[in-house]
Symmetry: C2
Subunit: 506 residues, 2 copies
């Protein structure tokens, strides 16, 4: 029995690992045998539509199959997709496909790893206790939304206690809530407990009230007992895949849990981490939130996935892909373009290589991953493996932005991640007021809004108010501010586009 076996239990077709206990063991036993894996970030071009994926998960699966076939101990860390969206039929599965598939895709697509339901139950229980607090006069309003994994536009604005208190509430999808963020960012149950205690439940006479003032935290943490354990499954090729956490990348932090990545890095030499949507979304959040503010590992390499069409076809949008690739290279991260071919596109390979060369990219990796899986990639990985081996980017300790005034921080992200300079980052009417109210709320619990980590909330399909506009007229509009004090985050809604431009689901 290996060390990790002591912390692993079967759960039907997956295993779950008590990552908290495993990492604590390693911390308490510094001489224990362990690896020091490097993180490879898989990200993508900004998609044309939120519902049209570039193939990041398929790439992640094919990549680890390919690396393992070349003798590298590689594993992947994926997020748990939103079961409700799969069930409702709005998006296909989010677990690869064809030859680059998981052994049990239904487990991932249909939420059978279990943590979504537990997180939903825990967040809804918090709201129930808040409703009771309203009845008891302890709260005037409720600032925490109910959640459901099952989507329904009708749930966005609801009234509870109809006919009596008529309390307005809203229901959001589970992958967007603060408790999901807390589970993603915490490294122990004690930390989860403290963060839940620090969540702002609502206000009383204008002053914020935190959950720690009136609930028994063990009720929440007990519900999460199994939810905090990463699930382990595998690709059809037999490569290990860990699945844990599922925040969306447009309206939340878009990364799997920190402990699942750290656990994987203790067990494997290369850990491929998939962050959601485009480089301006999940990747930006891994770098600027997880790494800068929460101690995660800077990537030793990055793969930016695109379809043959996404990055080239629309001349007004074709600036985005090179912008992403160059930005990551500029951060010291060896960055590899990966073009995921659909059927009938094999004849484009030469023109794709020419285009990449003209843009000064590293030699792109190109293949039909659905059809050929890891076999499409393995022969093309020499440059990647060399660069990864030599990379010291994982030692980077990027500066925290803690204490940086919020607007300055947003402006910094707009510049570094979206290419828009400060003079074209503009508040919309209502923004200043929203910011002031948020700052007052945080002050009311004795904290400073500038100490919270910034989460950019915006459409997945656009980086600025209009990506088709000429470079020197692109703008970023600031819309509103919302704090998630328990998670330690401040969410700022950006750009005039809809944040969630999904087709009507249900």
């Amino acid at each position: 029995m290996t060390l990790i076996d002591r912390f692993t239990a079967d759960y039907g077709a997956v295993k779950k690992i008590d990552a908290f206990a495993f990492l604590k063991y390693l911390a308490d036993n510094p001489d224990a045998s362990r690896k020091h894996g490097k993180v490879v970030l898989v990200t993508a071009d900004t998609p044309l539509k939120a519902s049209r994926g570039e193939g990041k998960t398929t790439t992640t699966i094919a990549l680890i199959d390919a690396l393992r076939s070349r003798g590298v101990d590689a594993a992947a860390v994926l997020r748990q997709p939103s079961m409700g969206i799969t069930a409702a039929g709005s998006k296909g599965g989010a677990s690869g496909g064809g030859k680059a598939s998981l052994t049990h895709p239904e487990l991932v697509d249909w939420g059978l790893c279990g943590e979504m339901g537990a997180i939903a139950a825990a967040q809804n229980l918090l709201v129930s206790f808040a409703e009771k607090a309203v009845d008891e006069g302890r709260l005037d309003d409720i600032l925490v939304p109910r959640v459901s994994e099952v989507p329904s536009r009708s749930l966005r604005q609801i009234t509870v206690d109809r006919g009596k208190g008529n309390v307005p509430e809203r229901v959001v999808l589970t992958p967007t809530c603060e408790l999901m963020q807390i589970v993603v960012l915490s490294r122990s149950m004690d930390e989860i407990s403290s963060r839940v205690a620090a969540m702002i439940a609502g206000t009383k006479d204008g002053r914020p009230v935190v959950f720690g003032d009136f609930i028994d935290l063990w009720r929440i943490t007990t519900i999460l007992s199994d939810a905090v354990k990463p699930a382990q499954t595998s690709t059809l090729g037999g490569s290990p895949v860990y699945v844990h956490g599922g925040p969306f990348a447009n309206v939340s932090i878009g990364i799997p849990t920190l402990v699942s990545v750290e656990m994987a890095c203790a067990l494997h030499d290369v850990v491929v981490v998939e962050a959601g949507y485009g480089t301006d979304a999940g990747a930006q959040k891994w770098l600027d939130i997880a790494c800068r503010e929460y101690g995660a590992q800077w990537p030793s390499a990055a793969v930016v996935v695109t379809r043959a069409t996404t990055w080239r076809d629309d001349p007004t949008l074709s600036w985005r892909y090179p912008f992403h690739v160059r930005r990551l290279e500029g951060l010291g991260v060896p960055t590899f373009p990966l073009v995921n071919l659909w059927s009938g596109e094999d004849d484009q390979i030469d023109s794709l290589r020419d285009a990449a060369r003209a843009l000064g990219f590293r030699e792109p990796v190109i293949g039909n991953l659905f059809r050929d899986g890891g076999d499409a990639l393995a022969p093309q990985l020499d440059g990647f493996m060399e660069a990864l081996e030599a990379s010291t980017a994982g030692d980077v300790h990027a500066d925290s932005h803690k204490g940086m005034p919020l607007v300055e921080d947003v402006t910094w992200v707009a510049g570094s991640a979206y290419g828009v300079p400060p003079e074209r980052v503009r508040p919309r009417e209502g923004f200043e007021e929203s910011l002031r109210a948020a700052a007052r709320l945080v002050e009311g619990v004795g904290r400073d809004i500038d100490d919270l980590a910034l989460v950019a909330v915006k459409s997945p399909a656009t980086m600025t108010d209009d990506d088709s506009a000429p470079e020197d007229s692109r703008t970023v509009t600031l819309k509103k501010v919302e704090v998630h004090a328990g998670a330690g985050l401040v969410q700022v809604n950006l750009t005039t586009s809809l944040t969630t431009p999904m087709p009507k689901i249900v």
Copy 2:
């Protein structure tokens, strides 16, 4: 590897069994080695309050520990308690206690066996699709409630699509919904699929519309993939316990799933099944719904649990316990009183035996199960084991009431299960109209309301409108009718008492 091992997988600290596949295997292989276990029903006196349990679960656990210590291959089947109620703190755990405990009570109390969340997600997805159908003009209203495992009085009446459609809805606790009933009563995924298709989603121009008309059923059944598998755990004494399904016994059918009991009967010689609340609730539902209408096994023996105080202290209520014991004996089921002593009550043993003797009961089994567990029972089981061994009650095929006019059926239950004759079973204003509307609805899908099985919905703490009244003036008021066409059930609310007299939870 035994036969059952082929259908069993570890799930962390429990195992889950693919009961559908196991029972199908047995049906296809009639020569396969299997047992033919007898069902023992554990029920109780009508409680004084819904929140004050008599100790049925503790008894069930102690009983199988005691039987196994005497060489009998016994196992228990329990329901999954409502995690939300445990988490919210309104009721202690529902998994025994002291020496009569499960190895992992938190798994049962905190819903970590998983099916509640899946059933909730599936039922909520049905409602989401119904809301979409309303938007599309396919439905005028929605007759299926949303569900939550997390209780909150504020959720009983809500409005969705606030500010636009303003659609009234309600949220009920997951253990009370029709989909839970379907999971409890179905013996295959195909059956679940057919029943979900037959659920009435709402009406259009006054005519009922079933889900089968407009949803893809595989979306629902896939969510339920693991929920249909009974969980297996054990007592501290090492006795096998199966946990599956959790409908409440006051507002629903109060029994564990039929397949979990049938599976257990194929594996063990004695299967102790716990039904919820008193003999007038869960036991009545096992006998008159599960056995008469759905092919379940008539009990070979019954144990009626009471505390030392419940059955004797209030002279106006002391008729209830003997009524229950005699009724079951009258149905041909050897019935054993079991008095569950609390601390400090040991000195009552003699007077308890005297009282039992005076009432003509079989020799009661008496013990402090929390303190002594199975050891308290084992020396007292001679009579029980003899009667069980000799019992042929399990061969009883009680007549179905299919086709019996609904009011006649309700009257029959009021007489046989509550001791109230037909002339004192009275409709309240609005009942007739409710019945007509329900009958019309069912007719609209080509079925007859009299063919549905009757579920009596009433307070757990009273059998009649006033149990303290003299026998010749006790009445049962009929309040309203609601059909669960998918499950094949018709629910009739009875008595003037509140159906759910729980203290305010959250």
